[in-house]
């Protein structure tokens, strides 16, 4: 967060095509967007993040809002881009997603993308959540979005996101408790 006054200046400059403004936006958001994409299974998270920001650049003239809204808006685009990428991947026979049984064991693509940063225990527990639950946790914990922003990105009601994150944490808690018992 850079503060509303600074953000307004950055947004205005970005709309007029100033390099420095775009650098500022990238400094704030490129990492979280790339992290979100990596945690949600993007094959080339940095490339996809670049695509996201080029879409942001093409549409920024239509954006009007504060810094919080801007962050949500960028993640809306990231989420849509990710879904488009998954759809395209699933339609290409040579780049088929892992079989459902493998995905349910922890999601191989996601595992490859994040395994260097996250322990196997967390990865396995995270991988057993539903897709939507993982979306919610990734947006909250990796992207750093609030409950309201997460609801906005996923196009869901706040109550629905509350329920999703509650179920996700309950599942994780159970998973981790079971892990201890089994040791």
């Amino acid at each position: 967060m850079v503060g509303e006054e600074v953000f307004t200046s950055v947004l205005t400059a970005a709309k007029s095509g100033a390099d420095w403004a775009w650098s500022s936006i990238f400094n704030q958001l490129f990492g979280p967007v790339t992290g979100y994409l990596a945690s949600r299974g993007a094959v080339e998270p940095e490339d996809t993040a670049s695509e996201v920001f080029l879409k942001v650049a093409r549409s920024i003239q239509d954006f009007d809002g504060d810094e919080t809204s801007f962050r949500s808006w960028v993640f809306v685009i990231a989420h849509r881009t990710l879904i488009d990428e998954r759809r395209q991947r699933s339609r290409r026979p040579d780049q088929v997603a892992p079989p459902p049984d493998e995905a349910s064991e922890g999601g191989n693509v996601e595992e490859e993308a994040v395994e260097s940063l996250v322990t196997a225990e967390v990865l396995a527990a995270f991988g057993r959540l539903t897709e939507t639950q993982r979306d919610v946790l990734a947006l909250r914990m990796v992207a750093g979005l609030s409950l309201e922003q997460t609801a906005q990105v996923l196009g869901k009601r706040i109550g629905a996101v509350k329920a999703l994150q509650h179920r996700a944490l309950a599942s994780l808690k159970q998973e981790l408790d079971l892990s201890h018992v089994s040791r």
Binding site: G17, S23, F26, G31, R58, T132, G155, L164, L176
Partner: protein, 293 residues
């Protein structure tokens, strides 16, 4: 049972309040050992959000974004140069505007009211369809959702079932382009994907386009869409959701029989109590109002 009832019930069973959940996610005011451990585990995800790229890459991207922004500015749209496929949208806008201007000039000079009327009734594949769309751009002739549905019904009525489904999908996608991320609902994005899948499914089965069940299902979908479109538009949440349901039924192995038998079937993978969002395995999109606080 309402969404909130389900939620409350789950909270009771799990012995974790919403406040606990927020504490775990934010790490604030954590006292319970199990919740603290849960928070510690989740913080392992934090470094993912701190992924960094090289300064050169960032500078290059910033320059590219700045250039694209300049291209997308209204005053620089007309006269755009075809040099980058990623810049096609401003270019298409410019071309569409030019086409519209030419169409208007043609209309005014020749005074061919009859042509405009004929064009308005054209459907995709007709010679006058391009003129119809161009005239719509400048407000001459009917346009929008009802027009697209009416065109699809004509196509379906003449046996072009796949083309009819594709036509609705294209209209939805065009609506998405027009709205960008400012107002297009995820349900509408789902509906677009479901329609395209349905068209692909029908097309892949050589017998399906000739199937009476498929034809009835498509006709039913279009009839219902026409009724709904009288009082709403493609970016309406419920409309999008209903279209997606019907499209999935058409694309199902039963060839639309599901839809005819059980209207309202859909939402394959939604969470219990999640009454608002798209199924998790189908594309989503921006919520209404994103970017327009």
């Amino acid at each position: 049972m309402s969404e909130e009832d389900v939620y409350d019930d789950e909270m009771f069973r799990a012995e974790m309040t919403h406040r606990d959940v927020e504490r775990v996610l934010t790490g604030e005011e954590l006292e319970d050992a199990a919740l603290t451990r849960l928070h510690t585990v989740l913080t392992e995800l934090h470094p993912l959000g701190q992924t960094s790229s090289s300064d050169e890459q960032m500078a290059s991207l910033a320059a590219e974004a700045a250039a694209l922004t300049n291209d997308a500015r209204p005053e620089s749209r007309v006269g755009a140069v075809i040099d980058d496929p990623r810049r096609t949208r401003p270019l298409l806008v410019a071309l569409r505007e030019r086409l519209a201007v030419i169409a208007v000039a043609f209309f005014v000079v020749v005074g061919m009211t009859g042509v405009a009327i004929a064009a308005d009734a054209a459907v995709p594949g007709d010679p006058l369809y391009g003129l119809d769309r161009a005239l719509e751009v400048v407000g001459i002739g009917d346009g929008g959702t009802p027009e697209r549905i009416a065109e699809a019904r004509v196509l379906a009525g003449s046996g072009k079932v796949v083309e009819a489904i594709d036509h609705i999908a294209a209209a939805l996608a065009a609506s998405s382009d027009r709205e960008q991320v400012g107002g297009f609902s995820p349900e509408a994005a789902n509906a677009t994907a479901a329609l395209r899948d349905a068209a692909a499914s029908v097309e892949s089965d050589s017998a399906a386009p000739e199937s009476q069940e498929v034809r009835v299902a498509v006709a039913s979908m279009l009839d219902e869409m026409a009724v709904i479109a009288d009082h709403t538009d493609f970016d309406d949440v419920e409309f999008g959701r209903r279209i997606a349901e019907m499209a999935r039924a058409i694309g199902s192995p039963a060839g639309g029989q599901d839809m005819v038998d059980r209207p309202g079937v859909g939402g394959q993978d939604n969470e219990p109590g999640d009454g608002a969002g798209p199924p998790s395995d189908v594309p989503g999109g921006p919520p209404d109002g994103a970017g327009r606080p």
